[in-house]
Symmetry: T
Subunit: 143 residues, 12 copies
């Protein structure tokens, strides 16, 4: 079975606990469970990580043997050349997702350093962004 690495960037451990008006009441554990089930139904396994450390995310990408990456880079979307370079160096098909619609927020959030090296980007559908993202990724990997 092919493996998908699911990466949650900084502050996503607070999901469902803080700013629930913006991000909803789902916890990260709950979301991961749904992602995992979706993967399982399609004969993929998932490995999950959440980290507030840019370096941890770079480490993980550098070492992973996954066939695809589903990443919500959160704040690092806009500031991390290192994660971009890691994704680019590994060349593993990657889907970028965002819970909120980053294009309806502050100007600095409209620019993603990650998008140009990803297959594509999904933004604005809450928890559903993850489920659409893994769908897109499995579809691509299954081709």
């Amino acid at each position: 079975m092919k493996k998908i690495l699911v990466i949650h960037g900084p502050n996503l451990d607070l999901l469902g606990k803080r700013e629930t008006d913006i991000y909803g009441r789902e916890t990260l554990a709950g979301i991961n469970e749904e992602i995992g089930e979706s993967a399982k139904r399609n004969n993929f396994t998932c490995e999950f990580m959440q980290s507030n450390h840019e370096g941890d995310i770079v480490d993980k990408i550098g070492k992973t043997d996954a066939s695809g990456i589903l990443i919500n880079p959160a704040a690092y979307t806009h500031t991390s050349v290192a994660i971009r370079d890691a994704l680019s160096a590994k060349g593993i098909p990657t889907v970028e997702v965002h819970i909120s619609n980053i294009y309806a927020r502050e100007g600095f959030r409209h620019k993603s350093l990650i998008a140009p090296v990803a297959l594509g980007q999904i933004s604005g559908f809450g928890k559903r962004s993850y489920l659409l993202g893994i769908d897109a990724l499995m579809n691509f990997l299954g081709e």
Copy 2:
């Protein structure tokens, strides 16, 4: 049954006929068929339009009684305040999709005038962007 208006912007009538290396070999008719089937499975109906005319798209949005809009604004993504205003005036939940990854192309394609008034945006998954988009939209409307 709730209706979804599916709008294809300029030049999308050429899909599957031109630049197949970039946009794939699927024709618009083929894609519409798949979108329609997905909608049907979820008890939605679809109305399709393709136009190269900004004004036609604005007219359509202004007159529609659809419950949701799935739009690939193509070139008008980057230049049409009129379509943005139409979507904003009607206030119908809208999902923006792109076949190619607009963030991996020329700089002027990185800016969407539509995104800030949409629920969310999906970019880069070829034909699949439409299917993910209608999934997201039906999910939202069904809530």
Copy 3:
């Protein structure tokens, strides 16, 4: 009697039906009636058009034999070089009006491509912007 061409740009057909908190409850028909009465009182006739099509507006300007133009270019204020060029080519005295105060909205609405070729601009007074505009125009034409 001199004729004034009154042009309403994209989405203004929705006036009084949508976003009434921003644009008020007056319909376009109602506004046109008031404009027409004001013109009549001053011995002018009016011809009205509303279009969501940039090309229609350019066509109309190119063919009109009016002595003056009162235009609310709406979304095309910020994107249409074609309408600007049409006004400039015809050289008919033109007054630009806006229902909302465009300078109190998003940054991209602060720039008018039309204003530099108009006599002047009136922005922010709701329906009244039109009545002030035709007053200014008739006053100019009557000089």
Copy 4:
């Protein structure tokens, strides 16, 4: 009777005496007379001031008990945060007017610091800008 404060910014004391090709031959006194008559016809009184001093204009706004303000901020349109803050602090309905079409002049005149805190702006109709402006203001105050 409600009072309207009419403020003329820097160099407007020279009206009718200098650059008559641009600003016309009307003097400020003549314009004030016409404004006053228009106000009177609608049961408003006017208080007039002209000052070249940003601070005087701020002082006046801070102390006024007027129901509305009609202001041609002239050069301070583009440079005075202090006048903007004064208008904003008092919250009195304000109409901004300009004799010339500021959008057909040098680039630095295209940006008004005042417009975002005004009801609206009227630009380009010579003396008539004032008369349209007081009309708009009285109309608003009479609502």
Copy 5:
């Protein structure tokens, strides 16, 4: 015989009737006649269109079976991603022409969205720009 599609953008129907000091006294019909004769001499046929509608031009490019396109995009030079995408999708050799020298006019006219997808650009020679353009195009197609 190979066919050349000659496209005249917005407001060019006014040629020879308006702003003759800038654009000269030649009418569009007269110019088309000369283009046609030049084509005939080289065994090409021409199809002519003039439209003020961006969508019409996109439609025409999408459907044409011409071997080459000679286009004066006029105002759409600076604002139409849709026409650019149409030209790019069809991949038909295209020459862009301008009657006036766009680099000696307002700053916003210095940027062409069309030029990067054209063979080349000719600007500033009045009616002659068209004749030079068709010469360049026939020369290219005849290679």
Copy 6:
């Protein structure tokens, strides 16, 4: 006893009377009293001024014999090179304070022309900004 010159810029005379939701209910007189008491406790005297006139503030700085300056330049923070030059010419230790958090407001308020010539800046703590500022200044002068 060393003297501290306390300068309040434009519109601060309206403190406690206008926009109390933003600036609080304290009047300038009340704030000055607290500043004065704090100074007295530390064996400093204070001289207070409030002016809406950039020139008055420049005059005062130019003539003062104070040992330190506590200034809330308000609107002039963003527009006055003259006040900056006055502070720089005199070389008297200066602390800049702001009642509101200028970095959480409009973009044009994020740039202070005064800060580069001040000891430091305190922004966002309401009336408390003044008390922290005089504390910082007395601490510096007492060193």
Copy 7:
């Protein structure tokens, strides 16, 4: 007793050891002692951390149960969206301090990503910036 979390960003462990001409001779331990004493006098407790790791700071903010945060983000002031998002997610009242006057240094230091989500900012008073900051924070928390 309410707790205040005191966060020192990157390189602040070198305080008093390096660049003493700019940052002074006080060590971080010495500064923390003074902060702690000030807190104690007002019945607050302090928890101190210094880290060169953006992720550590985000972790700490995410997990803290403090009532207020006093932070000198140092270099991360200008580059960390992650710390901004952490502060924003937790919504704990935060005061941003800087030892040097960041507005008198290189241009890239004039922009703080943290300030818009903080109560306020204090910059330029050396060690004293911390003491003023905790004063402001305790004052706010005690209200």
Copy 8:
């Protein structure tokens, strides 16, 4: 005898008393004396003013009957549209001078709002800038 109005902008009353390393030890009185003598030798009279008030300078320009103006706008060089407009409205030949070389200082001092409406500008020669300036002005007026 023709009269020359000599205007010294903000902070120039401090000349010779402050920042003597930059501006030299000459006082304004001393400089005026030398300017006056130079004028006298050429049969011109001088009227001198120094003001820190933008409005005073605008007032003076508006009312003067001088044949020429020699102005060191100091800080207002970079911020005053009002003084520019006054000079432009009066149309009196004007020479702009600066004691220091404004192009060797901070970036914001490189832009003069006054220069485009002056005959010319002299910058960087200390007291001598004034003497060169009056020489240039008298030469122009004497032509």
Copy 9:
């Protein structure tokens, strides 16, 4: 017979020898021969120069007695104010040509300092750009 000065800018001596995939296999001598023949057929003579020296080109323009100038400024297109000023000072009708399509290359090549002072510009047709250019120039001179 009227004379045309043909100027080839820097590195054009390498034509046909280097980067033949971009610039083609024609040598400068070959191109000059074709230009000369075209001129001869229309009763013009040509004088040719190629130089890598900006100063040589300025010298030549300053001294020439030609009736028209055909120039490919190559690299100096984007950097030479001196050549622009020479053309402007002499006022001889000038046509600017480029072998490659400069608008399809690096961003810094999109800006021509020469175009605003030329009759027009022809870009992108290889050797043919010269022949179209001399055609345009002779046509203009012959009018």
Copy 10:
């Protein structure tokens, strides 16, 4: 013997394993060996570190007792003020190296935050950049 600290930034652990067409087939271990030998020949010792963590690199610089630093900051070149500040605080002579020519890549890689605080920068020579860099550094330290 003097010690040189050799720092490899993010993703450099993948050297020789990924993107070998860009970065070559040398592994980091191999490169370190060559650097070490070069150092040894000149009586220097080396300490090597590679980290994907900005904070680790800042920690290391803060604690090192090396006489010189050779750093390839990789992605952190463009985003890390923290590493810049660490180098600046320690004041140890530093040489910045890059394997690829950063000036021939994406625009955001053309700006180094590190270069202004380094002795110098070497970019584009593959593995050789390190060997040239240590040569430069030893040469400097040996002076």
Copy 11:
């Protein structure tokens, strides 16, 4: 006797022959004569050069033994880092002059690369700019 090197930049050999409405009817020879006489009266000698070659001007500056330089860099004002560096390397007091008012012309002429390394700049007084410039220079050298 001290020597002054007088440098005239590109196209100034055309003075008095071309564009006399802008630059006047004085020839360069005539201007040099007047400069020479002014120098002689003050016991200075002059050496004159005019060149259209940036390199010649750099050569001359590099080799001169003059005590001062009077330069009108003309077009090179805005483009020559090489002349700036030559002046900076030699460190000879330099005065920059311009015949026309460069601040009243195209935007690209508002920026001088030379001014920051000159004593000062004189712009806009026609021939007189040179005479004022040598006066300023001799005055400086005589101090």
Copy 12:
């Protein structure tokens, strides 16, 4: 034996004679001698040129039969598209060197037009930059 062309740009003839605090006391002759010796040791010959003329450098590159180029473009680094094009046209491996650290100087020196067409760039090591550069170049040519 392979030949390396060593090009020194403008003002480098002054090395060791001027601004020795910045550029050191080595003369160009001395540096060339060391470069030559280093080349000789590796069986390369060198040809040296220094010129202040952009055109001379372009001429030389165009005509050279060298196998590699070592260039310090000095001021032309930032302004010469012509030298860039010459290097690009010839396609000879080129190393760009700078004596000073251009990234620690004025902003306009941070941008090299040459770097994108060079193998790599070495900046900031004084004379040593040349020796490192020839080392890098010989290493490349010897591969």
